[in-house]
Each structure stands twice: as C-alpha cells, then as structure tokens.
C-alpha cells in the first residue's frame, strides 16, 4: 500500500473528522487524490466505518452495561469456529467478538441497558446456541481506556505560552 494511504489511515484513526482539504495538505497530496484513496480504502474494506469514542457514563439516562463473556464452544467439522462465531455476532447486542487462545474460545462483548437484559441474553440466546459448552460473564465496572483513548479529563497543555 502506498505510504500516503497509510498516513491517511493513521490520521483518521485518531480523528475521523479531519476535512479533506486539511487531510490533503497533511499528506502532501491533492484533494482529488485523497478522495480517491479514501474511496479505495473503503471499497477494499480497510476503512470499515467512521466512529466516535463516547463516554456514555457522562450522558444522563444513557448509561448502559457492558459485559465481556468468555465462551467455550465445540468447533464444528469443516468450518471450525467460524460458523458458531457467525451465529453469535449476528445478534445486535454483540458489539465485538474475538477468537481467543487459552482457557476459552470466544470472547464476546455485549452491551445492554441493564444487567438483567444482559443476563437474559446470556441465558436465552448465547448459552442455547448448539455448540456453546459454557459461558462466564464479567461485567465492566468502569472504563479507563478504550480504543487507545483515555477516559476522563484529557491532559491539559501545561506549556508556557512563549518559550525558546
């Protein structure tokens, strides 16, 4: 991949709101070139979506519950873990799903409005999937860092206004 495309990916991963004219100047390219590169990166499913990291705990009435569930499954002949993974990640409550090495097979991240909503999802949906052998649910108590972003107040600029 050409280095300008990689530079663009780094920049928008940090701040998805950078405008095309600014982006073009930052990577020393024309606006048309940047538009073309973004389109290609989107078409190739390298850029999957543009999202914001939000601290929902600061938004009234919007505080949800997040749980990370360790799932042990029986892999199926021919498709391994992929088929069972697909059955799980299609539920809208599932925000992330990873195949893991170690004590369990799948790590499922669930978001719900209440703990009981998550409990219901685990008991009624997840644990009833055919090849699921066991689940262990961990509720997140507080988010300190997510996707490389530290939650809470950002570090302020402590530099003096004019310096050598």
């Amino acid at each position: 991949m050409e280095s300008k495309a990689i530079d663009i990916l780094h920049i928008i991963e940090e701040n998805g709101r950078v405008s095309i004219p600014t982006l073009a100047k930052m990577v020393d390219a024309s606006e048309e070139e940047v538009k073309g590169l973004l389109k290609k990166l989107e078409d190739d499913h390298i850029i999957l979506s543009y999202s914001a990291v939000i601290d929902w705990s600061k938004v009234d009435q919007n505080e949800g519950v997040t749980a990370m569930i360790d799932v042990k499954v029986t892999p199926q002949r021919g498709v391994g873990f992929d088929q069972v993974a697909e059955r799980i990640y299609r539920f809208p409550e599932v925000k992330a799903l990873y195949l893991m090495s170690g004590a369990y097979d799948l790590s499922v991240v669930i978001e719900g409005k209440t703990m009981s909503e998550i409990a219901r999802f685990v008991s009624e949906k997840l644990s009833t999937v055919d090849s699921v052998l066991s689940t262990t649910t961990h509720f997140q108590l507080k988010k300190y860092k997510h996707d490389g972003v530290v939650f809470g107040e950002g570090e302020e600029d402590r530099r003096i206004v004019v310096a050598p």
Binding site: V161, V162, P164
Partner: protein
C-alpha cells in the same frame, strides 16, 4: 535603590547582555486569555509513559543520590550505542560523553571550556537565543553570520570564511535549526568541514533536533571525515523524546575537550538529576517508536502549515526539520516585533518575532507547529484574516 547603585553590584559582563527578546512576548501573551500559542519551542506531547515510569521506578528503588559527574555509565553507554547506530560515529562512553543539565548547559560549559577573553566565536544566525549571550558570558565575542530565506537559511562556507579573523576560535552551528527549521545535507556540511580544517577551527554542532528531520536523514557533523577531532556535538532528550522539563542533555566530544567541560560541569552542577538520567536511559532503550510516531505527526502538521501559509499569501520556505516555520512578513511593511504584537492583540495568536534570533531573523516570525491540528487550523484562519489589512 537607584539604578546606578544596582548596576554597581552587577558584573559588566551581565549588564552588557540583553534579556531574551522572548521574555517580553511571554509577559504580554501570558496576560491575555484565549490565546492560540505558536510561540512554544517544545513538543506538545507529554513524555512517553515508558520513560516516566522508568524514572518513577528509579525513585522507588532509591536511586536518589548523586551520579558520577559525567552521568550514570549505563546512560553514557546507551548514548554511545545510539550515536553509532543512528549517525555512524563512535564515542567512548568513559571519556568522550558527558551528560548535562539540558543542551543549554552543554553549550555553556562548552563555551567556557574553549573561550579565552576576546576569542571570537562565529554564530550562524538566525539562531537559538542563548548562543551569543553564552559566548559573551564566557568572555568571548560572538560574531554573527546571517542567513536568509533566499538560500533556505543554509549557511555557506564562503559566508563563514568572510567572518574569520585571527581571533576566531570556533563556529556554532544548529541544524535542523531553531528558529528556521532549516537543515543541511552532507555535501553542504562537507564544505564547512573543509573550512574548519583549513582554519583550524572548532565546530559546535547543536543537533538537538537531529531526530526531527522530514525529508532527508540527519548527518552528524562529527561523522564527516576528519571532523570528530574538532567537533563538539550538543544534543539531548528534550525535543525528540518530549522531555523538555527533565533538563537532560549530552555532549559528545574528543577526550581533551570533554575533560575540560567535565571540569566545569563538576564544579558548577556536580551531575545531572539521577532520576532523569534513568528516564533518559529508558528513552534510548525503548523510545524510538515513540520518536517515530511523534515525528510523523510533526511532518503532517508541517505539510499542512506550510501549504496553508502559501494559500494565505505568507511566503515560507519548507522547513526540513525541527517544528518551526519561519515565514517572511516583510511585505506587510511591519517589523517582526510590530507584526507579532499586532497579531497577538488583534487575533490572539502568539508567535515569536524573528529579530530575537539575531541577524537574518528580522522580517520573519517563528511559528511552532507543535500544537494540535485544531489550533493550527484556527491560527491559519486568524493569520489569514489579519493579513488582509495589508
């Protein structure tokens, strides 16, 4: 107490030195709110956590005593390895490397080690504000050689040669340069090396921005043929590793010069702070990825900033290193001081007037792009609006 009485108490040397021109702008800008500051000569990153953590850990383990005068040997060894691997020049950690309290102390002890009363030191300007005063305070005479935008602020051997007299002892170079961001390539430096050899001059090469070059690899002056024996490399951790407040620099120099500097350092400073030295050791061991990450970010901001300047009609050469742009404001008809003051008062953007950096700096302003993209976008908008009145 009258001024006359106060003056009587002060040395003539100190009285002859002007306070840094940056000071006035600092006082003015500090008294105002909602300033976008492009006047800051330091990274906008906080020191990488690994480095901070190593320093905290050194304190937890009780490393709170003096270190060897020249610095902890592990750090000097790491600096030696770094100079070899990055710039292909070998220094003996035992006798050719000194850890100092910032690169500023390194320049001070360097000048005091070589200058006798009346010796001349050529200072290539625009330059960092402390070079000429430090030459003066060491008893020497700074001799300015100005560079300008027409040659991208690069100095030629001929310009330096014209300033050489039989009292010339050394020359002071800084590439990548503060305030212009200008860099010099191998061929250009070679000409100066030949000149230094021909006139038997020492070369003080401030390479504190060596890691922050965007278009070409940095060439250490001492790596040029025959130059190690007459070069004092000044560097430090402030800029590349975002460690300005740690005050940790280093000098690489031939043994005789180094031991003279060490003598001054041991009487005036004793040693650099021990906990900061452990932080710096970690920076050299594991910090290069962070340096690369920060450098990429500066490069993108440089590209944005310089292109935007040209769009709003501000003539600016493309700085190859450091994190400063040094555009010309001559067409406004204002002096750099008037421009900076008016811009600050009318649009609340703080820049540093070029004249504080000496000959060749007048007619320019120093704008640091070590600030957020949001600030850069805002400042370009404000400066653009400001320029419309001229």
């Amino acid at each position: 107490m009258t001024t006359k009485q106060v003056n009587k108490r002060l040395s003539k040397k100190v009285q002859s030195i002007q306070p840094s021109g940056i000071r006035r702008f600092f006082d003015l800008a500090s008294s105002m709110d909602n300033i976008i500051s492009l006047g800051v000569g330091e990274p906008d990153f906080v020191t990488p956590w690994n480095v901070r953590e190593a320093s905290i850990s050194s304190m937890e383990r009780g490393f709170t005593a003096y270190s060897a005068n020249a610095g902890i040997i592990e750090l000097r060894e790491a600096i030696s390895n770094y100079m070899t691997s990055r710039f292909s020049v070998d220094y003996d950690p035992e006798s050719e490397i000194l850890v100092t309290v910032g690169a500023s102390e390194a320049i001070d002890v360097g000048m005091r080690a070589i200058v006798d009363e009346g010796d001349e030191v050529i200072v290539v300007e625009p330059s960092f504000v402390s070079y000429a005063p430090l030459v003066s305070m060491a008893g020497g005479v700074p001799v300015a050689v100005g560079t300008n935008i027409d040659t991208d602020f690069k100095v030629t051997a001929a310009q330096i040669e014209a300033a050489i007299t039989d009292r010339t002892k050394a020359m002071m170079l800084c590439f990548p340069n503060n305030p212009t961001g200008s860099t010099m390539n191998q061929e250009e430096l070679k000409e100066i090396a030949e000149l230094a050899e021909r006139h038997d001059l020492l070369v003080f090469s401030d390479e504190i921005y060596a890691e922050l070059t965007y278009d070409e690899e940095h060439v250490a002056f001492s790596s040029l043929e025959g130059m190690k024996e007459r070069t004092v490399i000044i560097s430090g951790f402030s800029k590349a590793f975002a460690m300005t407040g740690w005050r940790l620099g280093f000098v690489c120099a031939p043994k005789d010069l180094l031991s003279a500097m060490l003598k001054i350092h041991q009487y005036s400073l004793m040693c650099a702070p021990t906990m900061a030295q452990y932080g710096a050791l970690e920076a050299l061991k594991t910090g290069m990825d962070d340096v690369y990450r920060m450098k990429q970010s500066y490069k993108q901001r440089r590209n944005y900033f310089v292109k935007s300047f040209s769009e709003i009609g501000l003539e600016c050469h493309t700085p190859g290193g450091a994190f400063y742009a040094f555009p010309s404001i001559e067409k406004t008809g204002l002096t750099s001081e008037q421009f900076a003051e008016k811009l600050l008062l009318e649009e609340r953007v703080a820049v540093v007037p070029g004249h504080v950096f000496g000959e060749g700096g007048e007619g320019h302003i120093r704008c640091s792009y070590a600030t957020s993209m949001e600030n850069l976008e805002q400042s370009v908008e404000r400066i653009g609006r400001f320029l419309k009145q001229f």
